[in-house]
């Protein structure tokens, strides 16, 4: 009866950051040469932040993104996601974490072309073993949120670029993840569609989502609450936008 309820309202959870990275080092061993993609990275991200990660190519942005998204594990250092240490997890546990806590948005959308938008969005719910009726509710809900309620039965190939990215965002939101992780979400879009996606991101942030975006797009990074810059695998600046 008196067990503490878990959730964002719990004071101790709110006090500790959503993401807590310390002394993160990532080395790619290609056999002949070792590439140090990240060195001594420390990063805290609180719940509700809208973080932009910028930097030239090869600076380690994608590596950082993969680590945060639990697609990869660091060579050294500690990473806690909601107080849970990720470093020592096996593949199945990482899959579980990705499914429940992370929503991915990719530059090239990565929708599966042969199945409908509805089925694409349903995919993570299937992996999360959500019951059939709940799946239907969730898919309809998130598709409505991104403005694609009337495109459910269309295949991705029948959608415009902006619509495809919206579908991908809906897919990322379906499991109600802790973090929305986006890699150049506007990179493949024209400026109008890109603008729409930025508006959608801003809207989601206002609704309370925690968002991390890797971007070259200054228009997008200007609308975030915080901006970190990477150079040669190190965080060289960490600015909070005055918005």
């Amino acid at each position: 009866m008196n067990e503490p309820r878990h959730g964002g309202a719990e004071p101790d959870v709110a006090a500790s950051p959503l993401i807590r990275m310390r002394d993160i080092r990532k080395v790619y061993d290609t056999g002949k040469i070792q590439v140090e993609a990240l060195r001594d990275v420390a990063l805290d991200v609180a719940s509700g932040e809208f973080l932009a990660v910028v930097g030239p190519s090869g600076s380690g942005k994608s590596t950082l993104m993969n680590l945060i998204g639990c697609l990869d594990t660091p060579t050294a250092g500690s990473y806690e996601l909601r107080g849970e240490s990720v470093a020592g997890m096996n593949r199945a546990q990482l899959a579980e974490i990705r499914n429940r806590r992370i929503g991915f948005v990719f530059q090239s959308f990565n929708l599966i072309p042969q199945i409908s938008t509805y089925e694409n969005v349903e995919m993570p719910l299937l992996f999360g073993r959500v019951a059939r009726r709940r799946r239907r509710e969730r898919v309809e809900e998130v598709l409505a949120r991104v403005g694609l309620a009337d495109r459910m039965e269309h295949k991705p190939t029948e959608l415009s670029g902006g619509q495809m990215q919206r579908a991908a965002i809906a897919r990322a939101l379906a499991m109600r993840p802790d973090i929305l992780l986006a890699d150049e979400p506007t990179g493949n879009l024209d400026s109008t569609s890109g603008g729409d996606i930025m508006d959608l991101f801003a809207q989601l942030w206002e609704q309370g989502h925690t968002m991390i975006v890797i971007t070259h797009d200054t228009a997008l990074s200007r609308r975030t609450s915080r901006r970190i810059e990477l150079h040669d695998g190190r965080i060289t600046s960490d600015l909070r936008n005055g918005a």
Partner: protein, 418 residues
């Protein structure tokens, strides 16, 4: 980790499809392999059934004993004495030996002149005791009969003909009821042997010989000694015991060592049919291996297409992993896909094989002996089960290795380069 078939199945339905042409070629390769396998096994089965039938043509579970000569001294008697059983020994054996289905004596004249009308031929003529009809599978054609107790008891001059001999002597005429001459003595034809496949024979095939009651033979030709003694066991498993007892009984009477094989040389058809059954099993295994290898080539086709699928879908697999798919949800649908190609091809091959076998069955063998002995390809439940098992195994293997490669896809790696 629990496997959830339903999720696997749904994912299978939702994964992207392979190019049609490639899928069709793969399915065709499997169909061809299954067709070869099933046909080869069916030919093996047909051959086996036909040979088994042919072997039974001479009679089932019988052994034939000949007069011989001792090769071992026995109780003061030297080696090299002839052993020649007599007609009364048939009674002796029948009364002393257990598990006997029957015992019979034979006396043979290899060149008995048989005359009908103006035609005389030299015939292998055998005097036989009554159980001959049963033990040696001498069934009469419709309209005729084999000998009975009266024929034997009264030493009637009745004769039973092999079908080739009957045709040779009588042509299109029905021999039953006609009278012919055996060494100038008239005999009544009571029956003609129904045509049968016969593989084993001693003296010659049954189709061109003639048999008369052994009592009649003894009377006309004045013979006392048997040319052969034939015994039947009431089950193949009893044959060794039957033969041992027969030897003991006759050894006691004629004074020879029961262990002396040459005193009474024996042809045990149970033993030789066991050897042939093993040979046939070997042939079937051989055919099965050839068919299996053909099918295996089809399986390599499936593995090939599945490797290509994994390669093509690497990104899709990476995305699914990023969305939280576990390894089994990546491998499961792939294995299902490989199995689907295999089983589709297998079903197709089986349908074609069934059609071909039905077609071959409808073709006449036209009295061709080779074709008759090759028999008709026959499908049987074991063949169907073996084919299904081999197909399933090949499908699983062909899909497992590509699927395992898919499970090792590194999502970070595949998603890195946009």
């Amino acid at each position: 980790m629990t496997v959830r078939p339903w999720i696997v199945f749904q994912l299978f339905l939702r994964s992207s499809r392979v190019q049609k042409k490639r899928a069709i070629l793969t399915v065709a390769a499997i169909a061809w392999g299954s067709l070869s396998l099933v046909l080869l096994l069916a030919f093996g089965e047909g051959l086996k059934r036909q040979l088994t039938r042919a072997q039974a043509g001479m009679g089932r579970d019988i052994a034939v004993l000949w007069p011989g000569e001792t090769t071992m001294p026995w109780q003061g008697l030297p080696a090299g004495r002839p052993v020649r059983p007599r007609l009364e020994d048939v009674e002796l054996v029948a009364s002393r030996v257990e598990h006997l289905a029957g015992a019979l004596g034979e006396m043979t004249d290899y060149r008995a002149p048989v005359t009908y009308g103006r035609k005389t031929v030299n015939v292998r003529l055998t005097g036989v005791s009554l159980p001959y009809g049963e033990l040696r599978n001498h069934m009469a054609r419709d309209g005729g009969r084999f000998f009975n107790v009266l024929d034997e008891g009264r030493r009637r001059r009745v004769i039973f003909l092999g079908w080739t001999l009957a045709e040779d002597l009588f042509g299109d005429e029905d021999p039953v009821g006609r009278t012919l001459l055996v060494a100038n003595v008239p005999y009544l034809v009571v029956g003609v042997l129904v045509e049968k496949l016969q593989m084993g024979a001693y003296g010659g095939p049954d189709e061109d010989h003639a048999v008369i009651p052994i009592t009649t033979f003894k009377t006309q030709f004045g013979r006392e000694r048997l040319s052969n003694l034939v015994v039947g066991a009431d089950g193949p498993e009893h044959m060794p015991q039957v033969l041992r007892e027969v030897r003991e009984v006759l050894a006691a009477k004629y004074g020879f060592d029961p262990e002396d094989e040459r005193a009474l040389p024996t042809w045990d058809t149970v033993e030789s049919s066991a050897i042939m059954q093993n040979m046939l099993l070997g042939i079937q295994l051989f055919l099965g291996i050839i068919g299996g290898l053909t099918l295996f080539a089809g399986g390599i086709g499936v593995a090939n297409i599945m490797y290509a699928v994994v390669k093509e879908r690497t990104r899709e697999i990476g995305v699914k992993m990023a969305l939280g798919a576990r390894s089994s949800w990546i491998t499961g649908p792939l294995i299902l896909e490989g199995l689907t190609y295999t089983l589709m091809g297998g079903a197709l091959g089986l349908i074609m094989a069934t059609g071909l076998i039905a077609l071959l069955d409808a073709l006449p063998t036209g009295g061709n002996e080779a074709l008759e002995f090759l028999g008709k390809p026959t499908l049987s439940l074991p063949i169907a089960l073996a084919t299904a098992a081999i197909l399933g195994l090949i499908g699983l293997l062909a899909a497992y290795f590509p699927a395992r490669r898919a499970a090792l896809v590194d999502p970070a790696e595949t998603l890195r380069y946009e």
